[in-house]
Symmetry: none
Subunit: 224 residues, 4 copies
């Protein structure tokens, strides 16, 4: 076997595997675990059922692999969040509020994407059957988002812009002020996602409320 052969073989197999994963992801997110049959997956992936079973032990294994993969990709949300904070610290309270407003808004957009919502629904639906997957998701997605926020808040606290005993709690307050109203609603009413204006409003209110609670009273050292 030459390298080319190996590459070709691997490529072929890996390609099929990808097609299966992609098809299954689509279907699981749309119809849930029990609402998706292996036949449908094979058909959508344009492979035979046996190819599916040769690559994945059984439906559960396929489900697990997909949830783990997609959960991993949820880092995207966390990365977006981290990026939104920017690299520099805000210099004044006013700047900080605007910064937080942006962060809230960006975070909200990330979280209201249809895929992210579907994944959330899927994992919540199966949380009792697959507690390990649910835990993993929880730790990778919502919890890590709060970690990132807490980390940034620490820097603001060090700069005297924010005052908080418990940074993780403050971070959670910020996260849920920003997300919870819209996210909760979106879980139940998938077809009524809030529009841009509403998102702006929610993000602004979250930033304002957060700073009212945790903003330093003597903001940036006294405006002359």
């Amino acid at each position: 076997m030459t390298k080319a052969d190996e590459g070709a073989a691997t490529g072929r197999t890996a390609q099929k595997r990808q097609a299966i994963l992609s098809a299954a992801t689509t279907l699981f997110l749309r119809n849930g675990l029990r609402g998706t049959s292996m036949d449908e997956i094979a058909a959508l992936a344009s492979v035979s059922k046996q190819t599916v079973y040769k690559q994945f032990t059984d439906k559960e294994a396929l489900f697990r692999e997909i949830v783990e993969e997609v959960t991993g990709n949820s880092d995207a949300v966390v990365d977006i969040l981290a990026a939104a904070f920017g690299d520099t610290l805000a210099a004044t309270s006013d700047e900080l509020e605007e910064r937080l407003r942006t962060v809230a808004r960006v975070y909200l957009d990330a979280v209201l994407r249809a895929q992210v919502l579907s994944l959330r629904r899927l994992i919540i639906a199966e949380a009792e059957q697959f507690p390990d997957l649910a835990r993993r998701y929880y730790e990778q997605a919502p919890a890590r988002g709060i970690d990132v926020i807490a980390d940034r808040l620490r820097r603001y606290a060090e700069a005297g812009l924010v005052v908080a005993d418990d940074l993780r709690l403050a971070a959670a307050h910020f996260a849920y002020l920003a997300l919870a109203i819209a996210q909760d609603r979106a879980l139940f009413l998938p077809s009524e996602l809030p529009g841009p204006g509403e998102r702006d409003r929610l993000a602004a209110a979250a930033a304002r409320a957060f700073l009212a609670t945790y903003g330093s009273t003597e903001p940036d050292g006294g405006k002359p």
Copy 2:
């Protein structure tokens, strides 16, 4: 047929109907819609399958009826919430914070009950298949909770204890400050409900954060 006969017959039928509803509720909440078979329901209700089908057109109808019934009973949560506010207004800011702490704590307890969480999971899981049910639930449960809070906040605002442009938004902030951290976690990690201490802590932090944002600066109107 005498009235007695009719009554007996009705009674018996109604009794079976109740048994079916009760069995189906248990099973749907535990195993989901697709995870529950009509056979299981009939068996747990100790009736024949035909009896089930005589009372309910099909599985979907049974599911709907149950979700609507249980959703209706979720008023309980709203009632608990309303009761927690009490009938009198708080006289001072301090009293108000304690009052809100209590409310947050009671609300949290109500919402973290296993049944309530299971119902939430069930409805979220089926939100795309049964958007009307999800809407109804959303309007009956989370939304009405916020209504109740908003209503109370209005009275506080009138008394000068709270300042808010948008009372519903303020109410939502309070609700999600109080619930979201724990509720979100509980949806994903059913086996790790927060203990009493943690609940106290979350409730206190919610009350504090809310008042920092929406509490009147001149607390109780300034008693001259």
Copy 3:
């Protein structure tokens, strides 16, 4: 429900159950466990597959039930054997030999019936998968046959017609002298069962060999 109703219902159900058991017995004995499908069983019993599954948890349960039932009926062989010994003791050595010849012959016939051989094959085939069934069969069939023989030999020994230290061993020797040659052959060559003459010959040889070993030298007390 009246008794008649119950009876009718039971009768109907029991009838179907019997049909299933009968069909499955036929097929399992003919084609083995893996060689028989639930579809075939349902078809041969003229019932729906669901009726089969309602009566028997799964294929294994059905298999077990059948093997146990048929094993129980194998008592027939033991009963035949016991009857062949007759109620009276033989008075002389000559009579005893004739008696044993008859017993051997009858036993051989019982054991060479097609059903008995098929059952033996079936249980041997599954002995590693179902050790409990194999044990039960072994104890009910071959072992009990030897018990019966040992019991009769004890009476002969008490009458001085037979001399043996170890009656069970002597019984086993008799049993296998009588059966083993033909039984072994029949297990492998189902289509070449020995004819009556051959059976006579084997039975006679078994009786003769047994008495040569275990017959009392001073037979019936000395004919003057």
Copy 4:
């Protein structure tokens, strides 16, 4: 292509063929014909399924080849048996009994090996599907054992140590006195093979019973 190449090719092919045969033997003996899949065989032999099909027409052909091969190797049992008789004749009745005891014991050991028992079970299980294989096995294994014994008995008879009209019948009596009790039990109770003491006891009893029946009354020519 040089001869070396051809040799190498043949060697490689033959090697794979052997690997397949070996894997299939293991699996067929362990799990039976229907309990073994071509996939498993290919996997255990570390070859592709196509290679299996290139070497053997289909599953049945592979099964046949294996059973025939293993049946051929069962000669081992016959060889062991023949060797146990030794090259010299026994001189006295006492020596003969000891000799037969040894033979019986060795034969028993040979026949109670797990592989031999598994093969027996396998062939019995498939005797109706593959009557030709069963016949071949029967003729190669149990029947040839009896042939060997009959042959030796003839020499003993010529030496006046043994008296028998029908040497094959006498040989069968010896064989089944020696084997049948333990072999039968072992077929049904694979996990309860008799220990050495029990084997000794059975072998001794077989030798004794055989000589009581077929031993010459005037043993070795009368010791004056």
